[in-house]
Amino acid sequence: MLISYLPILILLLVVMGFAISNIIISALIGRHKPTAEKLSPYECGVEPIGSARERFSVKFYIIAMMFVIFDIEVVFLYPWAVAYKSLALFGLIEMAIFIIILLVGYVYIWKRGGFEWE
């Protein structure tokens, strides 16, 4: 069973060998004349401003937190959507209750100022 994967393994080895040997060969026989311009990170030709290792504002965390909650709750909509026809009205009411509970949470965050950036 696994033997059928052998060609893929061979291809993988060949590809890796080719890539690695190319890097080594170019490092060995290429000419090295580093300048400040060449060593700077490539940002589509625009000159980089400041360091790339800046800290993110803590506000992103709060947005991420709220995103995670509401994002994952959608997982319960999938089985409902798949069986929508056969669940009929019952499923619709169930989902409505579910969404209303989520909505209360949403209103709560809104009122508490969770969506305000400043």
């Binding site: 069986a83 056969s86 669940l87 019952f90 509970i101 209360v104 209103v107 709560y108 009122k111 508490r112």
Partner: protein, 483 residues
């Protein structure tokens, strides 16, 4: 494809629905009418607990399975639900003044307490590992937040972080155990697991043995038994005192309810193997809890270690099993609720803002300055130590006799020896209160009518159940039939 919607019985979960809906309403009131109604939220929460308690009370005596056998209402779950509601009610009474004093009187506080209570009720009534897991998480997540409710206090933050990281870690083990059990038996329903194991040899199946030990780790963490107890003292010390009181009772009792149901109903056959493990755990829990409690100077930490020791006694009830094991577990949990919450009530009354008067030395001279308070503290300490006229004695007696009846004599002896050790540090509080000169002036007491009611209820429970336990014991014995 035709989907048949299984019959469901909303009446069986009506207490849970009520408490959830009103918790959400409290949240909404807090957001929309913050200024005018904030103080009333605590009273409202008490009302909700009382109403829920009445609804739960009407369910006594029936046994109903609902939601495709996912949830069960039987005497066992009803009795546990009542214990949760009593403890939640007392904790809310303790909180009304305390939250104002600490500046944390937000509506979220009561909402989260009610959600946690709902999770506990779900755990007690869970007849499927899925329901138990869901209840456990609803309870735990609410508690993670509550432990860190004093947002600007570093200790509170630290307690919350420790509780969260270790709690989530333990949940993973519990879940892996459930996954293993599911793989071995093909179901997550407790009853079906039991019937599967009755027909198949379970001890030879390594997957079930692994699953059992993972479940022991998961539940062992939640009930704080040694060696999974390291989080307890830190979390208890850092959390707001009212929440510490809540955590030391409700979640522990809920975890024991789920523990008992899973191990006594679903896995009785594996009994031979796990009772040896639990035997060692119980002995360790009692001994370590009591010995380390002696060394504590902070009253909240002392009560934390004492609660660890009490988890050891309760574990003994589960090991004993049989007819009396579950009954003694329920009775002990009720007794523990009254005496432990009472002790915390005194700690809260003596606390002041920012600094919670938490050193045992600070209680010196209390006997002369505030005699009534000192007497009630003595009652709780004696009861926790298991000294006769109080409920703690009856509870311990019941558990030890259940253990002896089922042949765990050595364990019972270890338990009795531990009671003697425990007397030492409980009595030290009494000695400090009466025999020592005050170290410094007492702050004005943070009294309110509510906290006095809470104190009266707990003192009454501790004494009354200690002298007239007959009625409750009869009820408890009715409730211990798990199926």
């Amino acid at each position: 494809m035709e989907i048949v919607i299984p019959p469901f019985d909303l009446k069986s979960i009506s207490p849970i629905i009520i408490i959830t809906v009103f918790a959400i309403i409290i949240l909404a009131i807090d957001v929309f009418f913050k200024k005018t109604l904030r103080d009333a939220l605590g009273y409202f929460a008490i009302l909700v607990v009382a109403v829920t308690g009445m609804v739960v009370g009407t369910q006594l005596g029936e046994t109903v399975y609902s939601f495709s056998n996912m949830f069960v209402v039987d005497n066992f779950s009803v009795f546990f639900s009542l214990i949760f509601l009593v403890s939640t009610g007392i904790v809310i009474l303790l909180s009304i003044r305390y939250t104002k004093q600490e500046g944390i009187n937000n509506g979220e506080y009561y909402t989260l307490i009610l959600f946690a209570t709902m999770g506990m009720m779900l755990m007690a009534g869970g007849a499927d590992l899925l329901t138990i897991f869901l209840g456990l998480e609803i309870m735990s997540i609410s508690l993670y937040v509550l432990a860190g409710f004093r947002r600007d206090c570093v200790r509170s933050n630290e307690a919350s972080l420790k509780y969260f990281l270790l709690g989530a870690f333990a949940t993973c083990f519990l879940l892996y155990g459930i996954a293993m059990l599911y793989g071995a038996t093909g179901t997550t329903n407790i009853k079906e697991i039991a019937s599967f194991l009755a027909n198949n040899p379970s001890l030879s199946n390594p997957m079930i043995v692994t699953a059992t030990s993972l479940l022991v780790i998961g539940f062992g963490f939640k009930v704080a038994c040694v060696p999974f107890h390291k989080w307890t003292p830190d979390v208890y010390e850092g959390a707001p005192t009212a929440i510490t009181a809540f955590m030391s009772v409700g979640p522990k009792v809920a975890a024991f309810a789920a523990f008992a149901r899973v191990f006594l109903v679903a896995l009785p056959d594996v009994g031979q193997k796990w009772s040896v493990i639990l035997w060692v755990l119980a002995a360790l829990t009692m001994t370590v809890g009591n010995l380390v409690a002696i060394a504590q100077t902070n009253i909240k930490r002392m009560l934390a270690y004492s609660s660890i020791a009490h988890a050891g006694y309760a574990l003994m009830a589960i090991i004993a099993g049989g007819d009396f094991g579950p009954a003694s577990l329920i009775f002990y949990m009720l007794a523990y609720t009254f005496m432990n919450l009472g002790a915390f009530a005194v700690v809260i009354i003596l606390g002041r803002k920012g600094e919670e008067n938490a050193n045992i030395e600070d209680y010196s001279g209390l006997g002369y300055k505030h005699p009534i308070l000192a007497v009630s503290m003595c009652i709780f300490m004696f009861s926790l130590a298991g000294i006769p006229p109080f409920v703690g004695f009856i509870g311990k007696f019941y558990i030890f006799s259940a253990a002896i009846k089922n042949g765990f004599i050595i364990l019972a002896i270890i338990g009795v020896v531990n009671c003697v050790i425990a007397v030492f540090y409980y009595l030290r509080v009494t000695v400090v209160m009466y025999m020592k000169k005050p170290v410094r002036e007492f702050a004005p007491l943070s009294l309110s009518p509510f906290i006095i009611i809470a104190l009266i209820i707990t003192v009454w429970g501790t004494i009354h159940l200690g002298i007239f336990p007959g009625k409750i014991i009869a009820l408890v014995q009715n409730s211990s039939l798990l199926y």
